[in-house]
Symmetry: C2
Subunit: 194 residues, 2 copies
């Protein structure tokens, strides 16, 4: 049996669903073969095994998250970039809840070079978010003593934790805007000095 | 062999470490027996199995998180309660990183009544956090249109996600205060209208 590219993508989607539901260690190659309707042996002749599938899921996830940032126009203010980045991130989590779950929970089971590659992509994403906050501070959109590390960490916490509560079909844009308003404006009265 | 209460606590700590490192499904009863230096058979004569250990770890975790909220004096302002709650939560994560990891990542493998019990304790904790924000809005510490659900979710995201980056021995209090300042005051200049 030939596993074509669409067939591989189907396999990768099934793997994401199983890894999200049962965990990487709780998913057997037999489970994967059954989900795809093939024999274990024919699965093994086309993939190295679970590590390769986990890696594909993670790589596809990382690409989607970076692509969402790539789509943000450079000419916008830093504040608006942050709003769109939060919308983009939560939108991806809502759309691909299983991939997001695997991305957060199962990446640690990647081994060696594959793990390093995925960790490097995560760091690059985090740095791109941090850069928005730095840009906002340097351009005086934010206060001069803004801690860009804490700000990026709060953004990433809100964005990453969403896989635990966002439901497919939920209006992730509205949630993103509510988070954005809290992040930027805080909680006090608009006219209350800090 | 008798497993005494201190021995059970030792077992629960070893279980938390193994579940955090290898995941619930990646940890065998053999691994647990080996970590405690007992035979598998004698382990089975004192616990039902991994489910019971996972449940104990989760119940201990839930108790510690609730105890941290119990310690906050009622007479304080809502804003100060939120600051202390964030400090307490991040302090627990930093102190008991393995329990916090299991609490976030492995709770979903609990079954039936044990799962329901832990989910109910999580919901109760979330409701207590939400109540602080409601109290702050009703007492005019926060603006009147503050969305207490979004605010509590942002708090809980920051607090729960910390298990991925807090390192043992890190000054969790300083991080908590930086998050708190962002949450309450936002990012704009102190004199910039929203």
């Amino acid at each position: 049996m030939e596993i074509s590219t669409p067939r591989r993508q189907e396999l990768s989607r099934h793997a994401a669903r199983l890894f999200a539901e049962k965990g990487y260690h709780g998913t057997s190659v037999g489970d994967l073969a059954e989900a795809l309707g093939v024999q274990k042996g024919s699965l093994y002749s086309h993939i190295e095994g679970k590590q390769e599938l986990l890696h594909e899921t993670m790589r596809d996830g990382a690409e989607a998250f970076h692509a969402a940032l790539d789509a943000i126009p450079e000419r916008l203010s830093a504040t608006e970039k942050i709003r769109l980045a939060l919308r983009g991130h939560l939108g991806l989590v809502a759309e691909q809840l299983e991939v997001a779950t695997v991305f957060v929970q199962e990446w640690r089971y990647l081994e060696d070079d594959r793990r390093e590659e995925v960790v490097a992509e995560r760091r690059r994403y985090e740095e791109r978010i941090r850069a928005f906050f730095r840009e906002g501070r340097e351009g005086s959109e934010f206060r001069t003593d803004l801690d860009e590390n804490a700000a990026a960490l709060l953004f990433l916490s809100a964005a990453n934790w969403a896989y635990t509560w966002l439901r497919p079909g939920q209006d992730s844009g509205a949630v993103a805007d509510a988070f954005f308003a809290l992040l930027v404006d805080g909680m006090r009265g608009y006219d209350t000095p800090a």
